[in-house]
């Protein structure tokens, strides 16, 4: 399912003295099956964009096309339940949305709202708990008795249980420990690869954007200023500097090596593994090859 934003502008509290413009004429297309990263500073409008992807917010002007559903500015809400089911959003700090008596019930809440039969919802809850690396015993526990990291996983399972076609993630690993981050990011990558789940990731980590995404969009002051493949985006060093964004660690290291040795690599290495491999193939035991 493609999602297409055309000339989307959005203002919070429109028409009051507290009016706050958050998006300006944003164009963005997220093709079915892609992995789109959105990066940018706090307050640049990333979360606002995400809320347009399942029509929780409707544009103040412009249109959002979600599959065959078209959301125009200023139009009354139509039947949106199917859109909400097909586009699952994991909000920032999703553990705040837990409320049921048991983890099991909480994971089943989403699917049952969309009319999934109870046995099927139950089956999904049991499967997802395993998929997210939680022991089966947590199913019977109260979500409020879990650790922060476990709560996060339960909340993510609650969205995955809706079986969405598009998974939207708003800084899903913020506040987790490094190991938890990696596990969760790898899980999303796996779902994307194996199930063809269209994925939209908002992140502050350039490494994650470079490693996992097919395309990267940069938001700055409510505008989408750059859009392209990770190779294209991270090649524009000066531009990134203008927006005060960093390069991924591996690219930084690559640039430093290039500066020190004068050697130009043919491409950007977006992960440390790729860079290590490239370096290893230049490396010869008698110290030749680096220049």
């Amino acid at each position: 399912m493609d999602i297409k934003l055309q000339q989307v502008s959005y203002a919070y509290a429109a028409g009051t003295p507290f009016e706050k413009r958050a998006l300006y004429d944003v164009d963005l297309t997220i093709p079915s099956g892609s992995y789109q990263a959105i990066i940018g500073h706090t307050g640049s409008g990333k979360s606002t964009i995400l809320q347009h992807l399942n029509a929780i917010l409707k544009p103040t002007s412009g249109t959002v096309q979600i599959g065959d559903k078209r959301i125009d500015a200023g139009q009354k809400p139509k039947e949106l339940k199917s859109v909400r089911q097909r586009v699952g959003i994991v909000f920032q700090f999703p553990e705040h949305q837990l409320f049921e008596e048991t983890v099991e019930k909480d994971i089943m809440f989403g699917p049952m709202n969309f009319g999934v039969p109870e046995e099927e919802a139950l089956r999904r809850a049991h499967e997802l708990v395993g998929l997210l690396g939680l022991p089966q015993q947590v199913l019977e526990k109260s979500p409020f008795d879990l650790s922060g990291g476990q709560m996060r996983r339960v909340a993510i399972a609650g969205v995955l249980a809706m079986d969405p076609e598009v998974l939207v993630l708003d800084e899903p690993t913020a506040g987790l420990d490094p190991r938890g981050r990696k596990e969760i990011m790898n899980l999303f990558a796996r779902l994307h690869r194996e199930k063809g789940l269209t994925t939209v990731l908002v992140t502050h980590s350039m490494e994650d954007a470079g490693r996992y995404a097919d395309r990267i969009a940069i938001m700055h002051s409510g505008k989408c200023v750059v859009e392209g493949t990770p190779q294209e985006v991270f090649a524009q060093t000066e531009l990134l500097e203008d927006f005060r964004l960093e390069l991924p660690q591996s690219v930084k290291l690559q640039r430093t090596i290039e500066e020190m040795t004068g050697h130009e690599f043919p491409t950007l290495y977006l992960t440390e593994e790729e860079l290590a491999e490239a370096l290893a193939s230049y490396w010869t035991p008698n110290g030749e090859g680096m220049n």
Partner: protein, 265 residues
């Protein structure tokens, strides 16, 4: 989603209404609430409206904005109007609906009550829109200070009030966020049949309570580690300052009250 609620919010500005001492504004509004009940005929109710609108104009806040922000209470206003229209049986019959009759007295009474309601709500809204919550509580604490003699915990009450006011926007934001998150999980309390909406309240309220309690605990800890131990011997950073214009404002209201008193029937 809740962003249109204006009750309890403050709009910065530097009109004379903004600058009047918070104590004067509080006294003014309390007196006004009493004065409203003096009106009992067309002239006096007309004057009430004129007086209120003048203050709105002086405050520099757009009237359209006040009205649009008051939509939630507008429903109550219409309700009280209808209640009086249908249940006051005075004057002559205006309309015979078969099951009941509507009397002229009822309609007039309905209009009067609606006006009363309207000016009260607008006046208190102007108070909160033009005064920071902190000055309101400071003012209240100072005004209530004499009651400490009869062992009323004035400082604690004022503190409770300022903390509540301080957390209204925070809780609103929180509500907005949780509402959106549950909407994304297919539970929507803004559309659909009434029963569905009621079902959507629990998933909203429980997370809200959990986070409110957590916040309260954190706040209590933070206050304790910074040595808070009640109002005894506590000094203030912000000083309220009573000027001539504050006295004049109160006097104007008294003059207005006398006028109403003379014109009422």
């Amino acid at each position: 989603m809740l962003e249109k609620m204006i009750f309890g919010r403050y709009i910065p500005g530097d009109s004379i209404v903004h600058r009047i001492d918070a104590r004067a504004k509080l006294v003014f509004v309390f007196l006004f609430i009493a004065i409203v009940f003096l009106a009992n005929n067309w002239i006096t109710y007309g004057l009430l409206i004129a007086f209120t609108l003048t203050i709105v104009a002086v405050s520099g806040i757009r009237f359209y904005f006040i009205v649009s922000g008051l939509k939630p209470v507008l429903f109550l206003l219409v309700f009280t109007f209808l209640l009086h229209t249908f249940f006051t049986k005075e004057g002559t019959v205006l309309l015979d609906l078969g099951f009941t009759e509507i009397y002229t007295g009822g309609v007039i009474q309905g209009i009067f009550i609606a006006i009363r309601f309207f000016v009260l709500v607008v006046m208190t809204t102007i108070l909160t829109l033009t005064t920071t919550p902190i000055s309101i509580t400071d003012a209240l604490e100072l005004l209530l200070n004499p009651l400490k003699k009869i062992k009323l915990p004035v400082h604690e009450l004022a503190l409770m009030m300022s903390i509540s006011l301080r957390f209204i926007p925070t809780l609103m934001d929180e509500t907005d966020k949780i509402m959106k998150a549950q909407m994304a999980r297919g539970s929507d309390m803004t559309t659909g049949p009434f029963k569905e909406r009621m079902k959507a309240v629990v998933p909203l309220l429980i997370p809200l309570f959990v986070s409110a309690f957590k916040r309260a605990e954190d706040l209590a800890t933070a206050m304790e580690v910074r040595g808070y131990k009640g109002g005894e011997g506590r000094t203030r950073y912000r000083q309220l300052d009573w000027n001539l214009r504050d006295t004049v404002a109160i006097l104007l209201l008294v003059v207005f009250a006398v006028g109403l008193f003379l014109l009422r029937s």
